[in-house]
C-alpha cells in the first residue's frame, strides 16, 4: 500500500494499492477507526484480485485530510522540513528515552 503514486511506480512493486491520501495516512484517516479498517480491508483484497504486476487505486477519498495537511504546510515557511541526520536515536518522548536506556 502507498500514498505516493510516482514513488510506487518507480519501485515497480509486484502489486500495490494506491491510496490518494496525504503522506502520513497510508493506513487510513485520522481518528477514524472505521475508515482505517475500510482502507486496510480493501487494500488486502489486492492479494486476491491482482493477476499480474501493477498498481491499482483504492476508491477512498479524504478531502478533510488534504485540507488539514495543506493548511499546516502553508504555515510552514521552511522548504526543508527534514530533521538533522545523525546517529543519535530520535525518541518521540523523553520517557521513551529513559525506558529504552533502562533496557539496554
Amino acid at each position: 500500500m502507498g500514498s505516493a503514486l510516482d514513488i510506487l511506480e518507480a519501485g515497480q512493486p509486484p502489486r500495490a494499492q494506491f491510496l490518494n491520501f496525504p503522506l502520513g495516512f497510508e493506513a487510513g484517516p485520522f481518528q477514524d477507526k472505521a475508515g482505517q479498517l475500510d482502507v486496510i480491508r480493501q487494500g488486502l483484497t489486492g492479494f486476491q484480485t491482482f493477476t499480474e504486476p501493477g498498481i491499482k487505486s483504492l476508491p477512498q477519498s479524504w478531502d478533510a485530510g488534504w485540507d488539514r495537511v495543506n493548511k499546516r504546510e502553508r504555515g510552514n515557511q521552511s522548504d526543508d522540513s527534514r530533521s538533522p541526520r545523525n546517529t543519535e536515536p530520535q525518541y518521540q518522548t523523553d520517557e521513551d528515552r529513559q525506558l529504552a536506556e533502562e533496557n539496554i
Binding site: 500500500m1 505516493a4 503514486l5 510516482d6 514513488i7 518507480a10 519501485g11 515497480q12 512493486p13 509486484p14 494506491f18 490518494n20 496525504p22 503522506l23 502520513g24 495516512f25 497510508e26 493506513a27 487510513g28 485520522f30 481518528q31 477507526k33 482505517q36 479498517l37 482502507v39 486496510i40 480491508r41 487494500g43 488486502l44 483484497t45 492479494f47 486476491q48 491482482f50 493477476t51 499480474e52 488534504w66 495537511v69 495543506n70 499546516r72 504546510e73 510552514n76 522548504d79 526543508d80 522540513s81 527534514r82 530533521s83 538533522p84 541526520r85 545523525n86 546517529t87 536515536p89 530520535q90 525518541y91 518521540q92 518522548t93 521513551d96 528515552r97 525506558l99 529504552a100 539496554i104
Partner: protein
C-alpha cells in the same frame, strides 16, 4: 523514501496524485542541493499469486515509518538500517515513530493507526477476513539515503526476520 516534498495537491486538479519526485527535485534545486537520487527499479518484479485465500493465510507487515514500541531503542536519522519487531498485541498507545520526515507524523503520533494498522489488522483477524497474523510486525527507517546500504544491510535484515515468520503474505505500509 520520502524527503523534502510537500503534500500539496495541484490546484488545477485537486484529485490528481501529488508528484512527489518532481517536487523534491524542484526543492533540492531551490536549496542548491545536488539532485536526490530516487530508486528506480530496472526490471519487472517477480509475481506469484497467493497459494491460499486470505482467510486461510498467515499475514505479516512491514512499516517503514521508523516505528518502535516504547521501551525499544528509537531509530536514528542517518542511514539507520536496523529493524524492530513489534508484537501484534502491543498496546496501540505505546507505538512510537522516529522517521526523518517528522512533518508527516504529527497525526500518527496521536493516532498510530494512520500509518501502523495494528488495530485494523487485529480486527480483520478476529472477523476471519485474515486467517492468522504474524506474532510480530517488523519496522524499519524508510528515510535511508544510501541505496547500497538498503540493499546490502536493510533488506537482508528484513529478509532474515521475515523468513522466520513463515508467512503466506506480507503487507508493506510505507510512510
Amino acid at each position: 523514501m520520502h524527503n523534502i516534498c510537500s503534500n500539496h495537491q495541484e490546484q488545477s486538479n485537486p484529485m490528481a496524485p501529488v508528484q512527489y519526485i518532481q517536487k523534491t527535485r524542484e526543492t533540492y534545486d531551490k536549496l542548491g542541493y545536488p539532485p536526490y537520487r530516487w530508486f528506480h527499479a530496472d526490471s519487472t518484479p517477480a509475481f506469484t499469486s497467493p497459494a491460499k485465500p486470505l482467510a486461510d493465510s498467515r499475514l505479516g507487515m512491514i512499516s517503514t515509518a521508523g516505528t518502535y514500541l516504547q521501551g525499544q531503542v528509537a531509530y536514528y536519522y542517518k542511514d539507520d538500517t536496523s529493524i524492530r519487531s513489534i508484537p501484534n498485541n502491543a498496546p496501540i498507545d505505546k507505538i512510537r515513530f522516529s522517521h526523518i520526515t517528522e512533518n508527516y507524523l504529527a497525526e500518527a503520533r496521536q493516532d498510530p493507526g494512520t500509518v501502523f494498522p495494528l488495530e485494523s489488522l487485529s480486527t480483520l483477524e478476529e472477523e476471519g477476513f485474515i486467517g492468522e497474523l504474524a506474532n510480530e510486525y517488523l519496522s524499519c527507517m524508510g528515510g535511508i539515503y544510501s541505496q547500497n546500504r538498503v540493499i546490502q544491510e536493510l533488506i537482508p535484515n528484513l529478509e532474515s526476520a521475515i523468513l522466520k515468520q513463515e508467512l503466506d503474505l506480507l503487507l508493506l505500509v510505507p510512510l
